[in-house]
């Protein structure tokens, strides 16, 4: 990472009345980066976006853009543009007027505006629709108008507030591909807000997981998926089996965990908790192996449910010592698990590298 990031949120805090909505938020955004802020509703992710955009003030911390404090810079002087969740298109203007608005209010000559509008509309694939009004467009087209309007002033950074949430599944997948390729072509930083973890994983260079106004964890999508550090991240990004236990010993990153089901192995990312501390062991459903003929001392569980999900089969197992936990195991549907039946006893296991060790909160 560069010495000076494009944008730096330093220890930002924000309160609404007595409710603390953001607490010690520290985020850097690099040039050209596709950064996603991921969190459930009410996590504070939209507030972070609104603070960057200048729509909300802050109660503590600093917002720095290329080393310059943005505190006294009003919305209309910030070098960012926003794609709003409801698009916020101007309904009395046609598409070309909407897209050209940012240049018009800057007093650019008409010919220049017309040329740039045509150019940007071409970029977002709306070349022929300049004369239409927003009411005459489909949801996906409105989305593209909002994008075109945001990129025409060549901002250094675009803020996107759950822009795909109003679209249906198919259109959403199409817009995801489009957004990603647009970001690569333009080479400007995108700060993208979503509550959809699949969307975050598919689009982002880096994800910041936000929960209750704090940053839970940040990293590349694969890193977050493979090595969640907190129970929240482990549960929010994809499916995870969480087994509580106590750390007994560690050899390098590989830890021994004493659980109700016996002694299990897990790999820790980062500092190793002290022995004796309560931990959680997280294993992805696709990483659990099932064996019909158990070796002595193997972990035995009983098949409680088998669900056919098209490409996958989801098998839920119950271990007698873990009555509250259904262990989920995922298999490709053609993986030869069709011989399973409910009530069958199977040995379950996983590679130590596939089990993440989390500090229990």
């Amino acid at each position: 990472m560069r010495v000076q990031p494009l944008l730096h949120l330093e220890n930002i805090s924000k309160r609404y009345g007595s409710v603390r909505v953001l607490d010690g938020i520290d985020i850097t955004v690099a040039d050209n980066e596709f950064l996603t802020i991921l969190g459930p509703s009410g996590s504070g992710k939209t507030t972070i976006l609104r603070i960057i955009g200048g729509f909300e003030g802050i109660d503590g911390g600093r917002l720095m853009f290329e080393g310059r404090d943005l505190a006294s810079v009003p919305i209309n002087r910030r070098p960012f543009n926003t794609v709003f969740q409801d698009y916020a298109l101007f309904h009395h203007m046609n598409v070309a007027e909407n897209v050209g608005y940012g240049l018009k209010v800057r007093g650019r000559p008409k010919a220049e505006i017309a040329a740039k509008v045509a150019d940007v509309l071409e970029t977002v694939g709306l070349g022929a629709l300049g004369a239409r009004y927003p009411a005459q467009l489909s949801g996906g087209q409105r989305q593209r108008v909002a994008l075109a309007r945001a990129i025409i002033c060549e901002p250094r950074l675009i803020l996107l507030d759950e822009p795909l949430s109003a679209l249906d599944v198919e259109l959403r997948a199409q817009m995801q591909r489009f957004l990603k390729s647009l970001q690569r072509r333009l080479g400007i930083a995108f700060v993208f807000i979503t509550h959809d973890q699949e969307e975050a994983i598919a689009l982002s260079d880096r994800i910041i997981v936000v929960h209750r106004g704090r940053i839970e964890q940040e990293g590349a999508p694969e890193q977050l998926y493979r090595r969640p550090r907190t129970p929240f991240t482990a549960a929010f990004l994809g499916e995870n089996n969480l087994i509580p236990g106590t750390l007994t010993s560690a050899e390098g990153a590989v830890c021994q965990v004493e659980t109700a089901a016996g002694r299990l192995q897990a790999t820790v990312d980062g500092p190793v908790p002290s022995p004796g501390s309560p931990v959680l062991l997280a294993v992805r459903p696709e990483h659990i192996t099932l064996t019909a003929n158990p070796a002595p001392g193997a972990l035995l569980a009983e098949v409680a449910e088998i669900r056919f999900l098209g490409a996958n089969i989801l098998i839920e197992l119950r271990h007698p010592a873990l009555p509250d936990t259904l262990l989920k195991v995922r298999r490709l549907a053609d993986g030869g698990t069709t011989g399973l039946r409910i009530g069958q006893s199977l040995a379950i296991g996983w590679a130590a590298a596939d089990a993440a060790l989390l500090a229990a909160s």
Partner: protein, 267 residues
């Protein structure tokens, strides 16, 4: 899913019809009488043939024309001034803190809910106390006090419908507050602005009670009409009433049409 009850339906229809007749028959009578004057020949009532004579007399009546001019000036100035005031109040209300906003809501509305006779009287006393002589200006002030609430209401509803994100989008794209107002907010509110002004115009044009208190030597059309009635009935009154009726009806229809398409475009 409605059950058929022909008797009740018929009864309701009849009541509605009777109500409408009671409301509109006098109006129709006035309009008819402006074209067909009643004649009394040796104690026998009869109608004169169709004539535009009352209208001609009306146009020739300098006092009525002067009153009409006063009414128009008052209505135009008062409704435009009310629009500006109402817009400022509405902008303040959507951005103000709750307490202040609520207080203002009450203060703007009170003159409309107060009996006009109280409003008129208070204004009269106030003007006398500050030794402001009554005339066109005092009539206009009186009308503004009375019609601002109506315009305010129309404008506020539309402004609240717009929501904040259009303003934010405009600022985000680099526009100043003034540019946002001119290019985004006002155009989006245009139907509400027009119907608000029309409504204000219609109310001001017909306003009588407050005007009675605050008018000086210049009188408005309703006051003139009132004065004419006191002196004695002349056929011009029917003609004048008919004209006001038609004029008000046109404005009402215009407001109705505007409110049917609140956004201009579907949004």
């Amino acid at each position: 899913m409605k059950q058929k009850a022909p008797l009740i339906d018929a009864l309701l229809g009849l009541i509605a019809m009777a109500g409408l007749i009671a409301l509109y028959a006098p109006l129709v009578a006035v309009a008819a009488l402006s074209f067909f004057q009643i004649l009394r020949v040796r104690g026998v009532m009869g109608f004169a043939p169709f004539s535009l004579e009352p209208y001609v007399a009306l146009i020739a009546n300098g006092e009525i024309l002067a009153a009409l001019a006063t009414s128009l000036i008052v209505a135009v100035v008062a409704s435009l001034a009310s629009l500006v005031l109402a817009l400022m109040f509405a902008f303040y209300f959507v951005s103000a803190r709750r307490g202040f906003g609520l207080m203002m809501q009450v203060m703007v509305f009170l003159p409309f809910l107060l009996p006009p006779i109280i409003t008129g009287l208070s204004l009269l006393i106030a003007f006398r106390e500050i030794e402001f002589s009554r005339g066109l200006a005092t009539i206009i002030v009186g009308h503004i006090v009375f019609i601002v609430p109506v315009v305010y209401r129309t404008v506020l509803v539309r402004l609240q419908l717009l929501g904040g994100s259009l303003t934010e989008a405009s600022l985000d794209l680099g526009a100043s507050q003034a540019q946002t107002l001119i290019h985004v907010i006002l155009p989006q509110m245009r139907p509400a602005l027009i119907s608000g002004v029309l409504l204000a115009f219609a109310i001001s044009f017909d306003e009588t009670l407050i005007t009675l208190f605050v008018a000086g030597s210049e009188t408005t059309l309703p006051i003139r009409l009132w004065a004419m009635m006191r002196v004695g009935f002349v056929p011009e009154i029917n003609a004048l009433a008919t004209l006001i009726l038609v004029f008000t009806a046109v404005i009402t229809v215009a407001i109705g049409l505007l409110q049917r398409s609140p956004a201009g475009h579907a949004s």
